[in-house]
C-alpha cells in the first residue's frame, strides 16, 4: 500500500513533466526529454555554483587540516537551504493537500498517508540539500579526501535528507498548528517567514566574512561546534571518514525522523481535518457596499487571492520586500555608499560610468522574484468556471492579473528606484532612463508571466505550491530573469568603450517595450482564447 501512495505522490509532483497540463494528454517522448533536460540544466547550473565555492573554500581548509570545518560549513548550508527551501512546500504537501480527506476516508492507516507524503517531502528536500552536499563531498574527494570519505559522504547525503525532512516536517507542523488557531494567518505567516529569511540572508550576506573569520579562528571554534553544533559536527566528522561520527549522525537522524513521524502521526488527522481560520463565529454586520466597475472588481479579486496565501506572497512576491529592504539599507548606509563611489571615481571611473547599468541589472534581478502574474492562471483551479460564466471577457480577466503584477511591482520599484537615484547621485537623464526601463521591464514580465501561465496551465493541482513554485513557468521566469540580469550587467563591459551608457540603457528600454507589445497582443487575443477554453 505504501508504494501505491508514494507512486501517487511522485505522479503529482512530477506530473507536469509527463502530462501536458493544458491538454491533459501525455507528453511525447521528445517533450518529456525536453522537460528533463531543462531540469538537469537548472540543477547543473546550481551545482556548478557550489562546486566553484567549495573548491575555493576547501583548498584552504583541507590543506590546513580543518576538513571538519569544511564539512561543518557544507552541512550547515545544506541543512539550512534544505529546510528553508522546502518548509512551506512541506506544510502545503502534508497538511493542506486537497486529497487529505479523501485518503483518510479510505481504509488506509493515517501514518501511511503521512509517510508517503514525507517520502515526497524527502525527495524535494534531497534536491535542495543535495545540490549543496553532493558538490561538497565531490570537491573534498578531488582535493585529496580519499575514497572512504567519498563513499561515506555519499551515504550521508541520504541521512542529511532525512534530517532536513524531519526538521521541515516539525516546522511545517508548527505552521499548521498555528494556522488552525489564527485568522488572517497568511500575513502572520509571511511576517514570521520574512523574519526567518532576514536572519538567513543576514548570514548569507556575511558568509564571506564569517568564513574568513572561521578559517582564521580554526581549531579554537571546535569546542563551540562540539557543543552547540554537535549534530553538524558529527556529520562533518563522518564525512571525513570518521566511523564514530558517521554512526552517531545516522543514529541521531533516524531517532529524530522516527520521533517526528510518531508525533506527526498522532496529530495528523486533527490538524488536517480541523477547519482553518477562526473557529469563533463571526456575526455578519451589514455594511454599505460601493458599486465597483467590473475591472476594479476583477483587480480586487486578484489582490484578495494574492494576499490570502502565504505561499503565493512569499514565493511570488518576495522581491517586493527585498526592494523595500534594500531601499532602507541604502538610506542607512548612504554615506558609506557615496564614499565608495567617490573612491571608484578616482581609481576606476569606468565603474562609476556604468553604475546606471549595474543598477538596472540589480533591479531586473530583484524584479523577477516578483512573478505574481505567472501562477495566476493556474491558481484559478477548479473555480475557473466562475469568471468563465460571468459577463466579462477573458481579456479583462487576464489584464486584471497583469495590472496587479504591475501595480505591486511598480510601487516597490518606485520606492527603491527613487531612493537609489538620490543616494547614488545619478544624473537626471540616467535616472529617468533607468526608472523608465525598470517600469517597462515590469510590464513585460507581467505579460511574459501570463504567456507562460497560458502555455503551461495546471488547473488540477492538489496543493497551491505546485503552480506557485513547482511549475516550469515559475522556474523559467526566475532563471530567465537571472540570466537576463547577468546579460544586461555583463554586456556593457563589451560595449562601454564605444557606446554611451545612456544609449545602452535606451536600447534595453526599446527591447523590453517591443517584447511587451508583442506579448500584449498575444495574451489579449490567442491567450484569451486559451483562457476561455481552460477547464
Amino acid at each position: 500500500m505504501l508504494n501505491v501512495l508514494v507512486k501517487k505522490q511522485f505522479r503529482e509532483i512530477f506530473r507536469s513533466y509527463f502530462v501536458n497540463p493544458r491538454t491533459g494528454k501525455m507528453r511525447s517522448k521528445g517533450g518529456v526529454a525536453g522537460m528533463i533536460v531543462a531540469f538537469v540544466c537548472v540543477m547543473a547550473f546550481l551545482a556548478g555554483y557550489f562546486v566553484f565555492n567549495f573548491m575555493t573554500i576547501g583548498a584552504g581548509l583541507i590543506a590546513s587540516g580543518r576538513s571538519w570545518l569544511y564539512f561543518c560549513l557544507a552541512g550547515f548550508i545544506a541543512i539550512v537551504l534544505g529546510v528553508f527551501g522546502s518548509v512551506f512546500n512541506t506544510y502545503s504537501t502534508l497538511y493542506i493537500a486537497k486529497d487529505n480527506e479523501l485518503l483518510l476516508a479510505l481504509p488506509i492507516p493515517p501514518h501511511r498517508i503521512l509517510l508517503s507524503r514525507l517520502v515526497a517531502v524527502a525527495v524535494l528536500g534531497l534536491l535542495y540539500s543535495g545540490i549543496v552536499w553532493l558538490p561538497a563531498v565531490i570537491c573534498y574527494y578531488v582535493l585529496g579526501g580519499g575514497e572512504p570519505a567519498l563513499v561515506m559522504g555519499l551515504v550521508l547525503m541520504v541521512f542529511v535528507t532525512l534530517f532536513v525532512s524531519a526538521l521541515t516536517a516539525i516546522l511545517g507542523w508548527v505552521v499548521a498548528a498555528l494556522s488552525v488557531r489564527l485568522k488572517g494567518k497568511s500575513f502572520i505567516t509571511v511576517i514570521i517567514a520574512l523574519g526567518a529569511f532576514g536572519i538567513y540572508y543576514f548570514f548569507i550576506l556575511r558568509a564571506g566574512n564569517l568564513i574568513s573569520a572561521l578559517m582564521e579562528s580554526g581549531d579554537s571554534l571546535k569546542p563551540g561546534f562540539m557543543s552547540w553544533g554537535y549534530v553538524i559536527y558529527q556529520l562533518a566528522l563522518g564525512s571525513t571518514g570518521d566511523w564514530l561520527g558517521f554512526g552517531i549522525f545516522i543514529a541521531i537522524t533516524l531517532a529524530l525522523f522516527a520521533v517526528t513521524t510518531f508525533v506527526l502521526a498522532r496529530t495528523f488527522i486533527r490538524i488536517v481535518t480541523t477547519k482553518h481560520g477562526n473557529s469563533k463565529e463571526v456575526v455578519y454586520r451589514e455594511r454599505e457596499a460601493k458599486l465597483r466597475s467590473p475591472r476594479i472588481a476583477l483587480l480586487m479579486r486578484e489582490l484578495k487571492r494574492f494576499t490570502s496565501s502565504a505561499t503565493y506572497m512569499l514565493n511570488a512576491g518576495f522581491g517586493l520586500v527585498m526592494e523595500v529592504a534594500v531601499a532602507v539599507l541604502a538610506i542607512i548606509f548612504s554615506g558609506k555608499i557615496r564614499e565608495v563611489i567617490a573612491g571608484f571615481r578616482v581609481e576606476n571611473p569606468v565603474v562609476v560610468a556604468i553604475l546606471p547599468v549595474i543598477l538596472l541589472a540589480g533591479f531586473i534581478f530583484l524584479s523577477v522574484m516578483n512573478y505574481i502574474s505567472t501562477p495566476s492562471v493556474s491558481l484559478e483551479g477548479d473555480r475557473i468556471w466562475v469568471v468563465q460564466s460571468l459577463p466579462v471577457t477573458a481579456k479583462d480577466v487576464l489584464l486584471a492579473k497583469h495590472h496587479l503584477h504591475v501595480f505591486l511591482n511598480c510601487a516597490a520599484a518606485a520606492i527603491l528606484g527613487i531612493t537609489l537615484v538620490i543616494v547614488l547621485e545619478l544624473g537626471l537623464l540616467e535616472s529617468v532612463l533607468v526608472l523608465a526601463t525598470v517600469f517597462v521591464f515590469i510590464e513585460f514580465t507581467g505579460m511574459f508571466g501570463l504567456f507562460l501561465g497560458l502555455k503551461n496551465p495546471n488547473l488540477h493541482w492538489t496543493t497551491e505550491a505546485q503552480p506557485i513554485k513547482q511549475s516550469m513557468s515559475a522556474i523559467i521566469m526566475l532563471l530567465g530573469g537571472m540570466l537576463l540580469a547577468a546579460a544586461v550587467g555583463g554586456l556593457i563591459f563589451l560595449v562601454v568603450l564605444f557606446l554611451d551608457v545612456r544609449v545602452y540603457i535606451a536600447i534595453w528600454l526599446v527591447i523590453f517595450a517591443v517584447l511587451f507589445l508583442l506579448l500584449y497582443r498575444w495574451v489579449t487575443t490567442k491567450g484569451a482564447l486559451i483562457f476561455e477554453d481552460l477547464s
Partner: protein
Amino acid sequence: MLRIEHLTKIYGEKKAVDDLTIRIAPGEIYGFIGHNGAGKTTTLKSCVGILRFEQGDIFINGISIKSDPLGCKRQIAYIPDNPDIYDYMTGIQYLNFIADIFGVPADVRKERIHRYAETFGILKNLDQGIVEYSHGMKQKLVLISAWIHEPKLILMDEPFVGLDPKAAYQMKEMMREFCDRGNAIFFSTHVLEVAEKLCDKVAIIKDGRLVKSGTMEEVRGDASLEDVFLELEA
C-alpha cells in the same frame, strides 16, 4: 428565451451531445433528465458559454452564444453541480464581487442579499470565510449570487444536491416565483419526483441524444416519470 439548435459537442472521438434541439419559452421551468454521462452538464455548460461546441448554435433571447457571449451572459446565471467558489473570500465579498460584475447598485444589492440570505438562513454567516462553509452553505451562497442580479434565465446543474429540506422547499418556491415573472429556468436533476412536481416541461437525454421532450403530461402520460425514464434507459 432559450433556443438550443442542433447542438453537437464532441470530445475526441465521442459525441457527448448529438444534434440536440430544445426550446424553452419565458415562464417555463424546464427539467433535463438523463443518466450519468448522458450529456446534461455538457449541454448546460455550452449554454453558459463555458464549453465550445462543434455544431449548432444556442440563442438566449435571440442572441447567439457564439457571436455575442457577453450579451448572453448578462442575461443568465449558472449554478454548477459542485459549488467550488473562492474560499479566500468571505460570503459577502463573493456576493459583492458578483454584484459588481453585473452592476447591481449598492442599495439594491443590500436589500436583495439580506432577503435571500435570510431566506436561506445564512445571513449571519456572510462575514465568515467561504473556506469554513459546508457544502450546503456554499450551494446556498451560489444560489443567492444567481438571484441578486435578476437574470432572465437560470441554468442549474443538479441544484438540490446538498440542500437541506427547508432550503430545497424555499428554492422550489423561488424558482416558481421567478418563472411566474416571465423568466425561465433550465435545470438538470436526478430527483424525478421534484421534476414531476416542479417542471412545466422536461427533456430526457440518453447518450447525448434527445429521446423524449414536451410537457410533463406529454412525456409521462399516465405513468410516472420514473417509469418513463427507466423504460427509455432499458
